[in-house]
Amino acid sequence: MKPFKFEQATTAVQASQTHADAAPNARFISGGTDILGEIKESVLEVNILVSLAGLSGASEIISSDLGLEIGALVTLARIASDQSIVETYPALAQAAESVATPQIRNVGTLGGNLCQRPRCWYYRSPLFDCLKKGGETCFASDEGNKYHAILGAENCHIVHPSDVAVALLALDATVVVSNASGDRQMPIGDFFVSPDVNMLAENVLEPGEFVSKVKIPKPSSGTRSVYLKAKERQAYDFALSSVAVSLEVRDETITQAHVVLGGVAPVPYSVPQVDSELTGQKIREVDVQAIGQLAVKDAQPLSDNSYKVRLTASMVARAVSRLISE
């Protein structure tokens, strides 16, 4: 670990300015559960860490008729246990609850979870100067790819590590980004970018920009959601494959559907063909196995991860089946 400066920002403008001025060797830090690991493992060298932890107003959960606003500094533990989230946005609470361990959920924040870096073990080892770190090769393309992507990956085969992002996408969330001149916002699906768009980052943030909150529209009555996560052990594990599903059901008919896959692609992965297949179906007539198969139709597994195809199909089938029998 190399020495670095630590700057405690008190206002959004100050945070943004300090970061922008020191780019590209500045990073934001919120809970530190991800970034400090990167620094200690010598995967990342920074000159300055700009702490967002002291920003006012970023630690609130505001629930209204319009929907929900969650500040970027809200911890995963709070999201998992917040009454309004548990009741109205169950997929989100379940996703937050499924992260890591209680210790990490108590410290890790929403903003940090969305902006955490990939968990590819070559990325996380200082020994491998791979594409994602500006190098020439992907070490996972031919071997060592058991936990890598089966969908939507070209050169770099990371899976996006965030559980929460998968649920937020299924719930049609919007990300609010702050910079020195104010805010901009975008649907969460546009926030994440695949390595083919930008090899060195997983989102659209520019220097000086950080996530300040996430907004979720209030679901109509009749909407139900669920998040399921397959992992090798029951705690302290990322998803082998996960799925968030949100269904709006009226008169026993699915009127809207959003199925999102996690742990299988470089970004939280929407499968629009599944959404349109489900929409309009009578819940009693849904063939969940066929829906599962459809979700992985485009899968291109690597040498060690073809198990993820069937696993993901089965996770989708289970999630849909759970919701239509609710």
Binding site: Y122, F139, G144, K146, A230, E232, Q234, Y307, R310, L311
Partner: protein, 753 residues
């Protein structure tokens, strides 16, 4: 899943009651540990302490052409840089291997192999300095698994290593260090008599002990020539002797002070950092501390081997095994010395066989030199052997426990490698399994299955010493040299208390350094409660005799007329003459001086231990995930000195076995790198992955120990992998022949069915 219990979860089938032995007092080290005060290896501090850092090879197999340390030496704050050239040179065989493993000389033989080390004013400077060392490597092709390494065209690790083929040295370099055989009867004839013969092949991956405390060592090579080492070790004398060999100095020049240890499981017997810290201290004249990271631990210390096994067993329809052949090949890692020898002694041990053959192969590969891990070699062997036993039992339509009972080894059975069993408790273990409510409970659901398996570990004796001193207040202090990784301070003190008829609380045990006590072998081989406990028993007898003599002298009576009972000395002839232990202790100074007892033992009456598991699993056929629903461990402890700590060993062995069965593995890339070098990616089970593990302690006293103790630390890790494999087979109707049986592997087995 919550199970309602209609039985006692932890049962002791006791053979004899004592006052202290068999009770469950608090451990003397407990308070310090739960309050965070215990001093572990990395906590050690000293004036002028320097921090060290180790440069490790990025290649799994490479010739080291040159090492340029000049840039590192020039960095501000760097005090010394050492390489293998700083060790005394010369010698051959094991000492060279040991030395080269600590700092590579001509070749780096695994990714993570230590190459050079730096001492500096701070850990950050040391780390930076390490990155300034230039090593010129000629990168060679690595070979990282036992089967590839045995092939004729495999890259050779050691040009001078020739196979020891059944006692004869071959004349060509090979990665097979040795091939040995144990033969009993005539297997060919035996297989001819069989109605059913089953032969299967199995593989296991490298796994790590996973102790929570990484290795840490501080060395001070003093101006007077004496070397002091403070470290986390399972054997302070073993560490001392290894350092003496590597540094080529007399053992008397070294003092090793064992600090509190955060787990070892066999992995903290070998030295890694100690000799390097010593070299750095010699160069700088100040104490130097080296501490490993988790990645260093996984890549730079000794795990237990990956292995290949082929097992063939034949039986008659009536259940008699007519012949068995076990072929075992185990990875030694970078230097010869896999645990295949122990595996070969254990694989068929539970069975009384007329015809048997065991072939063992010790094979070097480009991975860290393996170290001991609980019953080293035996779990690898049992994963193979106990599955074929299960399959044979099924093929002839016999209950798997009945099949084992029919062929059970017992007192007088000659083992395949020669020795005859003394009294052992295997049949009693099988009986306890058969009659356990778990074995007879119905399974309730599809994709559930139950499996059983057993394991044997021989345990060891070796040297131990103990000193006991009587305090004026009637307590005693006890000094011993066995570092405490499993509650042995308590189990040793209890044996002394029993002899002295004192309450346990009156005995204060301390683990001391190598200058303070007689030679004591490692805390390993399940020997500590047996052998150091025996030393404590003898030292306590010494104290008892001297105290009785003193009472007799004070009373002016014959010593044989004085007895000690319930901490009171009494004269058999004169009921008036009576004095408590504390009263006598208070008078020692005035009546001839203090009393100490001492003993050094090397007991031979080691008692082997059998353990058995019953396990229920539920497999999700789509995700491949196996849930352990219920797990029962039955084990012969001989005598459980402290039943809670015996249960802890049984449960701990089961937990590690479950991890080994379902998840743990060194995930190796073709370049010979371990990909999963963190505890996030190297998946040991968490509490949420485990059910309550029930235990049944069977006590069939070991006639070779005063209280009947057998070792208990290792046997319980042997049966879990085959028991779980057998349970999975019963759940999904197909058998897994490779570890780990992780979700991807199980899902594939279901698909391929």
């Amino acid at each position: 899943m919550a199970t309602t219990r209609d039985y006692e979860p932890n049962v002791v089938l006791s053979n004899q009651d004592y006052n202290v032995v068999g009770t469950r007092p608090l451990r003397p080290d407990g308070a310090d540990k739960v309050t965070g005060r215990a001093l572990y290896g990395a906590d050690f501090a000293a004036a002028g302490l320097l921090s060290g850092s180790v440069l490790r090879s990025p290649h799994a197999h490479a010739r080291i052409k040159s090492i340029d340390t000049s840039k590192a030496e020039a960095l501000d704050g760097v005090r010394a840089v050492v390489t293998s050239a700083d060790f005394p040179q010369g010698g051959e065989g094991p000492v060279v291997w040991q030395r080269d493993n600590v700092l590579a000389s001509d070749k780096a033989l695994y990714r993570g192999h230590a190459i050079a080390a730096v001492a500096a004013a701070s850990p950050h400077i040391a780390e930076e300095a390490v990155s300034l060392i230039d090593v010129d490597y000629e990168v060679l092709t690595p070979v990282t698994d036992v089967q590839s390494s045995m092939k004729g065209d495999a890259p050779i690790l050691h040009d001078s290593l020739m196979t020891d083929e059944l006692g004869e040295k071959a004349d060509k370099a090979s990665n097979v260090a040795s091939h040995f055989q144990h033969v009993k009867g005539d297997v060919k004839a035996g297989f001819k008599e069989a109605d059913v013969v089953i032969e299967r092949e199995f593989t296991t991956k490298t796994v790590h002990q996973g102790y929570i405390e990484p290795q840490a060592a501080t060395a001070l090579w003093n101006n007077d020539g004496r070397l002091h080492i403070w470290c986390s070790t399972q054997g302070s004398f073993a560490a001392r002797d290894a350092c003496a060999k590597i540094l080529d100095i007399p053992v008397s020049q070294i003092r090793v002070v064992p600090l509190e240890i955060g787990g070892g499981f066999g992995g903290k017997i070998d030295v890694y950092l100690e000799p390097v810290a010593a070299l750095l201290s010699k160069k700088t004249g100040t104490p130097v501390k080296l501490v490993m990271s988790r990645a260093d631990v996984l890549q730079g210390t000794g795990p237990t081997p990956g292995s290949y096994a082929k097992i063939k067993i034949g039986a008659k329809k009536d259940g008699t095994i007519t012949a068995a052949h076990a072929y075992l090949a185990m990875e030694a890692g970078a230097y010869p010395g896999s645990p295949v020898g122990a595996g070969a002694m254990c694989v068929l041990a539970p069975y009384d066989l007329e015809n048997a053959l065991v072939d063992g192969y010790d094979v070097v590969v480009n991975k860290p030199k393996t170290a001991a891990y609980r019953a080293p070699g035996a779990p690898n062997a049992a994963f193979a052997g106990e599955q074929v036993i299960d399959e044979v039992a099924k093929a002839i339509g016999m209950d798997p426990i009945d099949f084992r009972m029919k062929n059970a080894a017992k007192e007088g059975t000659r083992q395949v490698h020669g020795p005859t069993f003394p009294r052992v408790g295997y049949e009693e273990v099988l009986e306890a399994m058969k009659s356990h409510p778990h074995y007879n409970a119905p399974l309730d659901g599809p994709n559930q299955g139950r499996g059983v398996a057993v394991g044997f570990w021989f345990n060891i004796g070796f040297d131990s010493a103990c000193n006991i001193a009587v305090n004026a207040d009637g307590t005693v202090t006890l000094q011993e040299g066995s570092t405490d990784i499993g509650g042995t301070r308590a189990s040793i003190a209890m044996q002394a208390a029993e002899v002295l008829t004192l309450p346990y609380e009156k005995v204060h045990p301390t683990v001391v350094d190598t200058d303070t006590i007689g030679f004591t072998a490692v805390t390993g081989g399940s020997r500590t409660t047996f052998a150091t406990g025996w030393a404590a028993y003898e030292a306590a007898q010494d104290v008892r005799t001297k105290m009785i003599d003193r009472a007799a002298q004070i009373w002016e009576v014959d010593a044989d007329t004085v007895e000690l009972e319930d901490a009171v000395f009494k004269s058999k002839s004169d009921p008036e003459l009576s004095m408590t232990f504390a009263e006598l202790a208070g008078q020692l100074g005035r009546s001839g001086g203090g009393i100490t007892g001492t003993a050094a033992v090397s007991p031979s009456g080691v008692g082997g231990a059998f353990a058995g598991n019953i396990v229920d699993v539920e497999v999700d056929p789509e995700t491949g995930k196996t849930e352990i629903l219920r797990f029962t461990v039955v084990q012969d402890a001989g005598k459980a000195i402290h039943p809670s700590y015996v249960e802890g060993q049984m449960q701990g062995g089961a937990v590690q076995g479950i991890g080994w069965a379902l998840n743990e593995e060194y995930y190796m890339s073709d370049s010979g790198t371990m990909d999963n070098v963190s505890l996030l990616d190297y998946r040991m089970p968490t509490s949420l992955d485990l059910p309550m593990i029930d235990t049944v302690i069977v006590e069939v006293a070991n006639p070779g120990h005063p209280y009947g103790v057998r070792g208990v630390g290792e046997a319980p890790i042997i049966p879990p992998t085959p028991a779980i494999a057998n349970a999975i087979e019963n759940a999904i109707g197909t058998r897994l022949f490779a570890l780990p049986m992780n979700p991807a592997a199980v899902a594939k087995a279901v698909m391929d069915k």
